[in-house]
């Protein structure tokens, strides 16, 4: 409504959800996909000839994002986080409930949705808490939260505290057909660890978090999923033992899915000792693990065991990250670095074909959380991402639009860029470093 009609001419369209990979015209009218086809007449639409190097995809979805609002607006707000998403090529994000207050009641959910509507950048799908206050005692009103718009439940930041609560949450949430997203970590094994338990942390004198702290919890949850029939989604997987547990569960048709974050298939714990050591922008939970784990994640992406790539975008203020390694918070931002890393390390490195990579960022997460979008359908909102896989980018954390700059990828040069992001037919972002994108900007 009110937006100009736009015709993307002769674009390479990669839409694995619709089984499309070829050259098409895409006509956007009134914020929606009016037609996808060949030789669509322009009518009164503005015509943009899409350069041959670009790839048009359904809007990318990131189902693991910390927007920090309400309560931690010094790190990120819903407005800055969803703008960061748009600049990173994401048209929608699902946001984690570990805000202050926790998203454990419909009033918080409604607040998040109201703020997201005011910002009007990327779409926001809230994820509710499993337990009240994420304290691991009492279940939240999942029915009320679902009705208010929550698309999944998690106590992310922590695991669901007890096996019994997880059991009940899986049973109860199955009534609303939403998954429980699990931050897998056995608290007694993790203890006060700050880095992967291995030779690197040992020699740096950093307390370790063993890989088994993650996999043992995944094994618990997979067993409970089998027992209850509830859906469990393993968040930000980092350890090869966890992947093995997921594969084993899938082979027995248990309703388990999993995701990996770009840093876990790009970096390993050896980074911690480099450049003087103790870079707190390499501190995240789960931690960077061994090269064998990184390669396992690549392998899981290649063979399809991993369902989704999500960023675990976790903004923290520079002051918080400027503390001793022990005291700095866990987490890194990821929305604006994900696409270059995925294109460079997965597409150009020939781990994944473009359709398979795009599936991990579009139709797969959409199917998992039953989100609208993830594929382009006539009559549906025009949420579109345009990639320029051959444009070289150099990441400068100072230039990130996220309110926080806590990324370990500063100075990295990668091949692959977001060219433009379109939400509801509005061209919200065009990348000035990709030649030709200016043609997409709406006429004043």
């Amino acid at each position: 409504m009110g937006t100009q009609s736009l015709l993307l001419k002769n674009a390479r369209l990669v839409d694995p959800g619709a089984g499309r990979d070829g050259h098409f015209d895409v006509l956007i009218t009134d914020g929606r996909i009016a037609r996808i086809g060949k030789d669509i007449p322009a009518g009164d639409a503005r015509v943009v000839e899409v350069p041959s190097g670009w790839v048009v995809t359904p809007g990318l979805l990131d189902i693991h994002v910390h927007l920090r609002e309400p309560g931690q607006e010094h790190k990120e707000t819903i407005a800055t986080g969803t703008w960061s998403a748009v600049v990173g090529g994401f048209t929608a994000v699902a946001c984690m409930p570990n805000t202050d207050p926790v998203n454990d009641s419909s009033s918080v959910t409604q607040f998040i949705l109201k703020r997201a509507a005011e910002a009007n950048f990327a779409r926001v799908y809230p994820i509710g808490a499993v337990s009240v206050g994420q304290r691991g005692d009492q279940m939240t009103e999942m029915g009320d939260l679902s009705a208010a718009g929550c698309v999944a439940f998690t106590d992310d930041g922590h695991p669901v505290r007890t096996a019994m609560l997880m059991r009940r949450a899986l049973e109860y949430s199955s009534m609303f057909d939403v998954p429980i997203i699990e931050h897998c970590e056995d608290p007694s094994l993790k203890a006060d660890g700050v880095a992967h338990e291995g030779e690197v942390a040992a020699m740096l004198g950093l307390r370790g978090i063993p890989s088994v702290a993650e996999s043992i919890m995944a094994e618990r949850d997979i067993a409970l999923s089998e027992m209850t029939g509830g859906r469990v989604h393993i968040a930000h997987m980092s350890a090869r033992q966890t992947l093995r547990a997921v594969r084993e569960g899938k082979s027995r048709d248990i309703k388990v899915t999993c995701e990996v974050a770009p840093h876990h298939f790009t970096l390993n714990h050896e980074e911690l000792a480099k450049h003087g050591g103790y870079n707190t922008n390499l501190k995240m939970n789960p931690p960077l693990r061994e090269e064998a784990d990184r390669l396992a994640m690549i392998d899981g992406l290649r063979d399809g065991s991993i369902d989704v790539i999500s960023t675990d975008h976790a903004p923290h203020h520079a002051d918080e990250k400027a503390l001793e390694f022990d005291h700095a918070p866990f987490g890194i931002v990821g929305l604006e670095t994900a696409v270059p890393i995925c294109l460079d390390r997965l597409l150009h490195a020939e781990v994944l074909s473009l359709p398979r990579l795009v599936a991990l960022l579009t139709c797969n997460p959409a199917r998992l959380l039953k989100l609208p979008g993830g594929t382009l359908r006539e009559g549906e909102p025009a949420d579109i991402t345009i990639l320029s896989p051959d444009t070289q980018v150099t990441i400068r954390t100072a230039e990130l639009v996220s309110k926080s700059k806590n990324s370990p990828f500063d100075g990295w040069t990668l091949r692959g860029a977001v060219a433009a992001t379109i939400v509801g037919g509005r061209v919200l972002y065009t990348n000035p470093n990709v030649p030709g994108t200016a043609a997409l900007n709406p006429e004043p």
Binding site: G198, E199, A202, L204, G205, L206, Y278, A322, L323, F325
Partner: protein
């Protein structure tokens, strides 16, 4: 070959950054410094007009006093900050404390901190040289250097010696620094501790790791005991003090397996009857008090090499 006269870095953050010739340089300089301590007037003007800040965020008596004495003997102007009563207790960050000190233009900052990597954080912020006086479970480089000086005095060399290090390997910064230094200088290191307190990665450094103290001590030229913290003695690391002493305590009987001229070391403070029998601590093998004396000389050497006049 030109002889090395300065350290390559302006900081001493850990043994890990030191090449063998730098270790030699520090030890040789420390030998010269030791002589100063035997004079009637134990003071030289080597650091006159230089300012050294001692920043101790963790309880320490011997290391702090050792650095203070070293600074005074070199005529440096010094000031000390301890965690209690400073701005740290008011919630100031380490980075802000560092910037505040930096504004007073110190030449060197000596830091002891409970978090591994805290000196590295200062080194990124400060123009002053940073000396690590012990960071978390990471490194305690001047301790390893004073241990090396003590061994060299007694044995005339480091290369080829069999050194057994026994105790809480997992949490010990003394262990890490000593392993790095001794392996770098060609000694043969055995590390021994309970299976719950073994450190990963030692084998990669060429260290023989064992849970048998008899295995570790057999034929050893040097036995170095590590302190075991009391809070680790009752719970998930160790069941009891009694059992620890039974399995890992160094007794005269156990020392019989070592070389006949074995020396016994301890970084202090000792837990008598826990990791070491008093008969050993006070016996003819013990060089524990030599270590203390050498600590001052090694710290004088380090401070001088980092902040002294160019001696070329």
């Amino acid at each position: 070959m030109t002889e090395l006269t300065r350290l390559r870095s302006r900081h001493l953050l850990g043994i890990t950054d030191l090449a063998p010739d730098e270790i030699e340089l520090i030890l040789n300089t420390a030998e010269a410094m030791k002589e100063i301590g035997t004079r009637t007037i134990k003071k030289v003007p080597a650091l006159r007009g230089r300012t050294v800040v001692n920043l101790f965020f963790e309880a320490s008596t011997r290391t702090r006093l050792s650095f203070e004495l070293a600074e005074k003997r070199l005529s440096a102007d010094t000031m000390g900050i301890t965690a209690v009563g400073s701005s740290v207790s008011k919630g100031e960050t380490l980075a802000d404390t560092a910037r505040t000190l930096e504004a007073m233009s110190p030449d060197l900052i000596v830091i002891r901190h409970a978090s591994s990597g805290a000196p590295h954080l200062l080194a990124r912020i400060c123009k002053a040289g940073i000396v690590n006086a012990g960071d978390g479970s990471h490194e305690h480089p001047t301790q390893a250097l004073l241990d090396a000086l003590t061994i060299r005095e007694r044995k005339g060399r480091l290369a080829g010696l069999k050194v057994a290090i026994i105790g809480d390997l997992l949490h010990s910064r003394v262990l890490r620094s000593n392993v790095l230094l001794l392996t770098r200088m060609g000694a043969e290191v055995r590390a021994c501790g309970p299976a719950t307190l073994i450190l990963q990665g030692l084998t990669t450094l060429g260290v023989h790791v064992t849970t048998s103290i008899d295995d570790a001590v057999t034929g050893a030229d040097v036995v170095m005991m590590l302190r075991v913290q009391h809070e680790r003695m009752h719970g998930l690391f160790l069941p009891s003090v009694r059992e620890y002493f039974t399995l890992f305590g160094l007794t005269p009987k156990r020392l019989e397996r070592a070389a006949s001229d074995v020396i016994v070391m301890h970084p202090g403070p000792m837990n008598r009857g826990v990791e070491i029998d008093s008969a050993v601590a006070d016996g003819p093998w013990s060089v524990i008090l030599d270590q203390v004396a050498n600590g001052v000389a090694v710290r004088m050497a380090v401070l001088y090499l980092l902040a002294g006049e160019d001696v070329t």
